[in-house]
Chain length 347, copies 4
């Protein structure tokens, strides 16, 4: 299963083509839509004011409710665009956005409006593709769950068992501990009031992958496969498996996961390794955390360079932005993880 | 440029085939050997007692001292093998090693001796391949440097400019601050005395990549490309770019890198993004940190399962192991980064 | 540059996503449309009665008339569908069509209407993608031309210089010798009257590729690259370079192409090799012939098996079909060749 | 399963690395060696005088007689080299060899001795890799057979059933009709006496592939996959499936393969399609013919250009060459087909 996402924030439409979808899957399009709704901005004041219906139209690969095995094309129309907000920014790249890098990559030919192809809006087709992947995985008894693990240093509770993540999926603000969630929302609101933004992290579990998938080698390594999908999500700057960065502070005795037998099955007592040893699944849940940078779009004045004149200038970003994208990114990370899990499975 | 590493720890030889090497490169084989010597165990007591010459033999792709553009095959003979050390472990997988995952992947057919294909010894051909990549990069004015950023919680100094890393390459223990290095070595020695091991982290910089390489999309994303190479290094469990996990604690005002003009060139004042915006290089050094887990081979008794009987048993690992592999991994991470940089460049 | 074609003959739309298009190309959409018009059925009685406007809509990757370097999505609406014609054929696969193979591949879940994803209609997005590739090539002084080399055993004239092919592109019936073209058309008409169909061959030249592209190795071999694109065109059953099958009747003295100097450039006097030696371009035009099978859709009664009952049955195919697709396939082969040439160039 | 072949004709060794070999295959190395012996020059005067033992050494991926699933590296030493034969040809490319194209690709850095990486000698590791693939296929009841279909216009008999090909594999001169074989050998001898060479064709069948593998799309198309492997064999200039070039002379009524039921299984009465419809296997044997050009190495004087001076010169090729490589290429084509079949199967 391979996916190609296309579209620009202010173009006519965005979408995705999924190749290699197994034939005969009774695709639940309402479920695909529900996943898209999870990443919608919501009614709170914590997200962008841009409102899009984000209704998915399937152009191909689906017949009489089942996938045909031929490429599945899904398209979402764009509608609520305020392109004028961006005219001023055409030659004055916003700090830490893709503007300057994209300008250099395209020789100045990028669609700069609303972030163009770099826009967080492009995560909508990713969620749609991931929703298909989730349904493929569900047939094999595999599921994906995630929660906000922290925002601006405020940490959510940890889970004992990944099953606890199932309750999070239905929440407007996807945390395990709602009290911590309120603190996080307060931090977002404060940042917004200060015309600023905040970063955070998301922890994700893929449950049900059998032991023995992958290889230590380049291109087949399970952690390498997952990370390639995860870094393709805008704003992700770090991917850490199992104990993650804490491994750097540990001894082998703390880090090692002893094997034991549970219900007649070989398992590990702990899961510091995050379900992967030597680049291969060991049958435990694959668990990882991604770090998401603060949204670079802040409305405070910032310093940049006018690419026409080479002069340093100050800009103020208008437009409608998210003071934090971590909470909206939870279904996006799940989607990327589901697509990665399909590759690991060889689907 | 693509590489395929082959070999087992106790097989006749290990090696690598590099395809797509640009023709006409005057390959400095002594330099390749020097890189290999950097990862050799050294004379200290901090590393494995296994001693290998690790001499590279080029079988193809080199003619009259220059690369021909055809596949470059490099082979290293194995010699100092103590296979009997491993006979006991054949059906009792060592915790947090690739043994069990590999057993499941191969239906029990893996070469279990000395970790087989999972052995850290397989990083020798990776270093050889990376040494070729470094020479390809050097022609384009690009270089790679790294240092141990921490071991068991003891942190090295930070660098102001990546150029400071150049002095680290020649050191037996590759840190910026040798005093910190001594503390780290002491921590390793203590772990060794306790029959234990320690983890750590390595920070790496790739300097000289032009702005505009890569794309936000899956498969072309610069961070995704690097991470795929880095996670193929044994023991790497996390890859974090620029400010890395600290982004989760930051506001946009702290995290954003303002653009400015220096020497007539657009640069960023800070480099929290680690040289990548929107999946594309921005012309600043690409900087990332990898977390390396403690060596799972510890000689203390550990709990595991006998895969023949399904019974829980206790094992003690004999053999010659590294109480810490972070210091030996510095040239390995550089090698993986150099190969990744070649892919980013389209070489 | 990679392409993914999606769509079914009787679905809402067909299309293509092109990734890796170089940024900054002033894309001539009218030229893209003209290429599509070349494969339209035309007013003659030689082609299907299905009439489609085949108007291309660009959804992404184009801004202010120039490519942005991000994925270019092009969509063509379906309109003139007679799905009822196919209901009878759902479980009785048409001989030599993809019906049975597709049924087995999809577990019976394919969209069977009008050939579904196997329909010749899917060559429309291929022509659109190829039209973009041709414009990319034109910037580099490279062009692609083709002609019908034979239909039902009636051969077109040969060309002395590939330049003669330029005049063919504008013809309703793309041959060098219009008299031969009339004979071919007569053969098609006769087959049609007999409720039958005819096969043929197309010869194609790619002119302007520099010497030194490609490699002898699997995956990089120029002939291998071209053939992968060409066999993805429905009905292509053979791909032969240069002298092609005649090599089997030749001696080395006849087959070898002596080198000589023309206008200060090393060229070959003859071009039996079709521009490729050892899997690498030699600077001469890349020339090949593809064999196209007779359209399997014939309205005479045919024997098949009812897949529900396992009984042998006779079918008569209704619907609107081409008694020959060779003349319409000329721009399709050019499109596939243009995309292949881009890969050979590393674009 | 992916393969990378390395080596030069006069370098220290040639070899191949096979990745993705299924674990647990009891590899019959003697069988691998027998396949290599099939392509050895033999005792007749019909082939090169260069004699090589071509003994395969396995460096990795095999343990206790079984494949481990890790990369399988096989190496063959070079020994009987007469490099001086080639010194004169360094800057005067042999017509229709890879010399000039390779010179341009490598900026003049190729190993020119004995054809370097372009040498037919490089088909030895391909045969070794194919021999492994054949054993993988045999486990699934799939086998590959081939015969010389023609040399210099002299055609072998046709087979009624692919099973007849099994007797051919053991023959010194692999034809169905030994009388025709003698005529062919006579034609080769005559060409040799005339210091010339001859071309021919090989027909190959892959028997046992189930229906439903592949897809019509680029990259998944069965004919496209096979052709990519086949064109990577030196001297192959055409690949034609089933009726092949004869399709251009046929009507649909002749070309179509009616479905029928045999032994409770859906089959086609004829197999003009060569086992592939719409890019997907239909369960019938996959049958194709490859055209092989006459060996470009002939000892008659030939015209070329001195690349140092740009002057036209005459050369005479010394060295030990095959006046025909078709008979030696039969196991090579089988090997390429076996590797292609593995990819089609997703092994």
């Amino acid at each position: 299963m391979k996916y190609t996402i296309f579209g620009e924030s202010h173009g006519p439409a965005i979408g995705v083509v999924l190749s290699g979808v197994p034939a005969g899957l009774a695709l639940d399009l309402e479920e695909v839509q529900r996943e898209l709704d999870r990443r919608a901005p919501g009614k709170s004041q914590l997200s962008t004011a841009r409102k899009e219906a984000d209704e998915v139209h399937v152009l191909s690969g689906l017949f009489e409710g089942k996938t045909t095995g031929t490429p599945l094309a899904m398209v979402i129309q764009n509608s609520d665009q305020h392109s004028n907000d961006y005219e001023d920014l055409r030659y004055t790249p916003r700090p830490s956005h893709g503007d300057y890098a994209g300008f250099m990559a395209s020789g100045g030919c990028l669609d700069y409006r609303g972030g163009g192809h770099f826009s967080g809006r492009l995560t909508a087709p990713l969620v749609a593709a991931g929703a298909v992947a989730k349904q493929v995985l569900a047939r094999r008894g595999i599921w994906v769950g995630a929660h906000i693990s922290s925002i601006y240093g405020i940490s959510d509770a940890s889970f004992e068992e990944p099953e606890e993540l199932k309750a999070v999926a239905g929440k407007e603000f996807p945390v395990l501990d709602d009290e911590k969630g309120k603190e996080m929302q307060e931090a977002i609101r404060e940042a917004k009031n200060d015309q600023d933004s905040v970063g955070g992290a998301i922890e994700c579990a893929v449950v049900g992958l059998p032991a023995g998938l992958g290889a230590p080698d380049f291109g087949c390594n399970v952690e390498g496969i997952f990370s390639q999908y995860l870094f393709a999500v805008p704003a992700v700057k770090g991917v850490d498996f199992g104990a993650g960065v804490a491994f750097a502070y540990m001894r082998g005795t703390e880090a090692n996961d002893p094997f034991e037998v549970r219900d007649g099955k070989v398992v590990t007592r702990t899961n510091h390794a995050g379900g992967v040893n030597g680049g291969i699944t060991n049958g435990m849940p694959v668990i990882f955390e991604v770090t998401m940078r603060p949204t670079p779009s802040i409305s405070l004045p910032q310093e940049t360079v006018d690419l026409r004149t080479g002069e340093e200038v100050e800009i103020e970003i208008k437009g409608r932005h998210d003071p934090c994208i971590v909470h909206r990114a939870v279904p996006v990370i799940e989607a990327a993880a589901a697509l990665a899990a399909c590759q690991v499975l060889g689907v």
